[in-house]
Amino acid sequence: MTDALDFRELQTLAAEVLGIDPERVQLPLSFARDLAADSLDIVELMMAVEDRYQVALPEDELQRMTSVGDLWDYLLAHHGDRAAGQDAATA
């Protein structure tokens, strides 16, 4: 993992999972309301994000992450936490 995250990478990943064009994935947009993601889509996206960014997304965090921006902010704060995140996930 490099230090600098590339938002375009997240756009591409989310677009692949949600079956939309990458440009549609923008920070202020809600996954459910604006990008037509249902609860299954969101679980799938979060699994893909965990794999790609080597982070763990705890359930309580997921509940709060309704927009692309919420997810992006979380990644900026936690993308270096791989070991700690795995510890938390398996605790």
Partner: protein, 430 residues
């Protein structure tokens, strides 16, 4: 179903996703030409298996029938089913979304449902743990999902479910759907089957019971029903859907009626998990009742699309049953196994074969049994060997038999009372 005052159930549309074509005209042309759809397996690496051939769907383009996101979240058997359903509706000129929600239902059957997704997720579970199981695992694995998916995508809100009876699934499904139309619970039913079960586990399991051909060096010659050199069935995949419509409704709207479902009966062998009753008694009872329910005498049947899987036990048991039902007439009617070309579509086989009966009646051609070079002496009927031939067919019977001893027989007949309708090629009711 068969009484003189019974409401006819019209077949007004067909849709195909098969190893020999993904549209009606290609499928028909290949059937008439006697072309095999069997080839080397490319869906996965089958190098470790004794059987490395199957009849795979080719050139299927899911995006023609659903958007990217839907395609991503639908098991392959659901993709095939949805595609075939859309084609059948287009063929019939029926748009369920413009009708009352209760008017159109779906019975879309499958033998193994999303077995491919079960295997994929089991592999993930073992390799990476339960937190990597796909959130779509359940909807992608269950065998009823294709019926639900079709309803969602085309707007069909009537009766909706799948029938599971192994290789008879979609024959039962079409029969039950015809009954739904006949009793007035829906005006139109989309009925058929879908299967995408050419997977390491399924093929490996069939190999373990020596049910499948190992003629890997000559795939196109591997499926040879009624031939002495047969060595098992060949797995196939695909989906076939038909539009069944209340006959009066079809007449009112000036629909093209390809054929009618005249009778349907089902029975159990009560014999063995996988082997047929050698005397074909269950099959005999089902054939007899289906014909009687159509209000016909057995000698009115012109053509039987046999279950004919290319296994010794099955071919002989079915031949025995046909002789029991038809007596001397068994040597006058024509029998063919189109599995010789398309392989065994398992849960979709009954729908494919009923659709072949529809086309045979509509177009006046008997499709052949290919690879029938040296008939088994115990199989001495007219199996239309190797070459299609023209014939007027008023009444056809489609036989489907599934592991578990499930038997389903469908009588498909020319539109009009008791199969006596306008001449071949002129089936439009106006």
């Amino acid at each position: 179903m068969a009484t003189a005052d019974a409401r006819p159930v019209a077949v007004t549309g067909l849709g195909f996703v098969t190893p020999i074509g993904n549209d009606t005209e290609t499928v028909w042309a290949n059937l008439v030409a006697g072309r095999s759809g069997v080839g080397p397996i490319t869906l996965f690496d089958a190098a470790d298996l004794p059987t490395r051939i199957a009849a795979q769907v080719r050139d299927f383009e899911p995006e023609r029938f659903m958007d990217r996101k839907a395609a991503r979240h639908l098991a392959r058997y659901c993709q095939y089913g949805l595609a075939a359903a859309r084609m059948a509706l287009d063929d019939a000129g029926v748009d369920p979304a413009r009708l009352d929600p209760d008017a159109v239902g779906v019975v879309l059957s499958s033998g193994a449902g999303g077995i491919e997704e079960i295997e994929r997720n089991q592999t993930t579970l073992l390799a990476r743990g339960p937190r990597r199981i796909s959130p779509f695992a359940v909807p992608m694995m269950i065998a009823d999902m294709a019926a639900g998916i079709v309803a969602m995508h085309v707007g069909a809100g009537g009766p909706n479910y799948a029938v599971v009876s192994a290789c008879a699934s979609s024959a039962h499904g079409i029969g039950e759907a015809a009954e739904i139309v006949r009793r007035g619970d829906a005006e139109v039913m989309l009925a058929g089957g879908s299967e995408a079960a050419i997977t390491p586990l399924m093929l490996g399991a069939f190999c373990q019971i020596q049910a499948v051909s190992t003629r890997n060096d000559a795939p196109e010659r591997a499926c040879r029903p009624f031939d002495q050199a047969r060595d098992g069935f060949v797995m196939g995949e695909g989906a076939v859907m038909m539009v069944l419509e209340d006959g009066e409704r079809a007449r009112r709207r000036g629909a093209r009626v390809l054929a009618e479902i005249g009778g349907y009966a089902a029975s159990a062998d009560m014999y063995h998990y996988t082997a047929p009753d050698p005397d074909g008694r269950g099959a005999t009872r089902a054939m007899r009742r289906a014909i009687a329910k159509a209000g016909l005498a057995p000698d009115r049947v012109d053509y039987i699309n046999a279950h004919g899987t290319s296994t010794r036990l099955g071919d002989i048991a079915e031949t025995t049953a046909i002789k029991a039902v038809f007596g001397d007439h068994s040597h006058r009617l024509a029998v063919s196994s189109t599995k010789s070309m398309v392989g065994h579509l398992l849960g979709a086989a009954g729908a494919f074969e009923a659709a072949v009966c529809v086309l045979a009646i509509d177009r006046g051609v008997l499709p052949p049994t290919i690879n029938l070079d040296d008939p088994d002496p115990a199989c001495d009927l007219d199996y239309v060997p190797n070459r299609a031939r023209p014939a007027r067919i008023d009444v056809a019977l489609s036989n489907s038999f599934g592991f578990g001893g499930h038997n389903a027989c469908l009588v498909v007949q020319r539109p009009g009372r008791n199969g006596v309708g306008p001449p071949a090629g002129d089936t439009r009711i106006t």
